[in-house]
């Protein structure tokens, strides 16, 4: 089986890899690029922990055929921190105890970023809707919702 050459932007950096036919973006990111931040959860589109941004839009990397991102921009959690500093969303997650086992956290943060990039002042309902495709089995969601609202403007108690 011939490998397919694939180039795209990964967290602002150009990358070039060779993928097998049918390889999904999650496998390409983790096994070929070495970005371990997107996680494999269900492989079915049900859990959201593999969420990444493709051209700024929230996508499930496990259901994305890798070669469909050719020439496009892919953002993962690995690109979220700014140098040594955590992104405000990451800081808010830490401050609000929004991560427990941590497995859903990469997807939650990307879903939250997709929301705040488009809507910097979301309502609680907007936040709930934005993370509705992401499953967390530890926190009961409330700390996550509060963290996202806090990152959006200190409304954690809203």
């Amino acid at each position: 089986m011939t490998k397919i050459p694939l180039q795209f932007r990964h967290n602002g950096r150009n990358v070039a890899i060779f993928v097998d036919g049918g390889t999904n973006l999650l496998v390409a990111l983790r096994e070929l690029i070495g970005d371990m931040t997107p996680k494999f959860g269900c492989g079915q589109g049900g859990c959201g922990t593999c969420s990444v941004l493709v051209d700024g839009e929230l996508h499930l990397s496990c259901l994305t055929l890798a070669e469909t991102v050719a020439g496009r921009s892919v953002e993962t959690l690995d690109g979220m921190k700014q140098g040594p500093n955590l992104h405000p969303l990451q800081r808010a997650f830490a401050d609000n105890f929004a991560a427990q086992c941590g497995y859903c956290t990469p997807g939650m943060l990307m879903a939250a970023k997709a929301l705040l990039d488009r809507n910097p002042a979301p309502s609680r309902t907007d936040v709930i809707e934005a993370i509705s495709g992401n499953i967390c089995r530890c926190t009961g969601y409330e700390p996550i919702i509060n963290a996202i609202l806090a990152a959006a403007g200190g409304r954690a108690s809203a």
Partner: protein
């Protein structure tokens, strides 16, 4: 297992490749085909895709609305002209699934999915497909009845007539989790009214049979009548006729038969 991916510039070339290879599947948004590949579905050895812009076109300016098969639910939700389709589009997945999943793919989504198709069935949509011998239009009901045989056809677009008013088209999805989740049952009703009486009612049900089906007995109970309590009760009591629900993790066949009349009554009486 690695598969061969074939990408075509035009939809007609993709349709040709699809119809000539029984182990080929068309890749739209990926939420069905990539899932099958992730699960190790060895019946798929070729994935066909196209970058044809025609498949992502929305024509919603007139009374007849056409959605390219590759239009995502996020795009449906972003289009004010498509307000009548916002409830079914919003009921699907989370934001990521709505950014990926397409109108055309939803026609193939098995239970407990395929909610958008329930709406399209109630709206008497037409499905434009391209086979090996050119394109043709198929009524959605006929398309769904033969869905098992449609894997080799490429859906180009779906079209339907815009309902006359927001009252004339109603949609309701019952799920265990809000705001997302697989369907326990899904209902859609198109209720054109002429002179105070229902004329040409279409009621569609999801998760009440192997594919989305019409509730014909309930439609007959409404036909030519005003939507009063007695008519609605008659339609609700006929809701299970012709249905063949099955058990799954979200609900049993028995439960689905028990609730379908209740939710049809609420839908028809405009209750939340």
């Amino acid at each position: 297992m690695a598969v061969t991916v074939k990408t075509f510039a035009s939809a007609s070339d993709a349709a040709g490749a699809l119809s000539s290879d029984r182990s080929a599947r068309y890749l739209g948004g990926g939420t069905l085909v990539m899932r099958a590949l992730n699960e190790g579905d060895v019946s798929i050895s070729t994935v066909v895709r196209t970058q044809d812009q025609a498949l992502t076109r929305i024509d919603a300016s007139g009374p007849r609305v056409t959605l390219g098969a590759g239009v995502t639910f996020a795009r449906v939700l972003a289009d004010r002209e498509l307000a009548f389709l916002h409830a079914p589009a919003r009921s699907i997945g989370g934001p990521a699934v709505r950014n990926m999943g397409t109108v055309g793919g939803n026609l193939f989504a098995p239970n407990p999915y395929g909610d958008f198709t329930v709406a399209l069935l109630a709206l008497d949509a037409t499905v434009a497909v391209a086979g090996g011998f050119g394109s043709r239009d198929i009524p959605i009901e006929e398309f769904l009845q033969g869905r098992e045989r449609q894997a080799g056809t490429l859906v180009l677009s779906v079209s339907c007539t815009r309902p006359a008013s927001s009252e004339a088209f109603r949609y309701r999805k019952i799920a265990r989790i809000k705001p997302k989740g697989g369907s326990v049952i899904t209902l859609a009703a198109h209720l054109p009214v002429s002179g105070g009486r229902v004329a040409g009612a279409r009621i569609a049900l999801g998760s009440m049979a192997p594919t989305q089906i019409r509730a014909r007995a309930a439609e007959r109970a409404l036909e030519g009548r005003s939507l009063d309590a007695a008519t609605i009760a008659a339609a609700a009591s006929a809701a299970t006729e012709g249905t063949l629900p099955s058990d799954n993790a979200l609900g049993s066949a028995w439960y689905r038969r028990e609730i379908v009349g209740v939710h049809l009554r609420r839908l028809l009486s405009g209750q939340e």
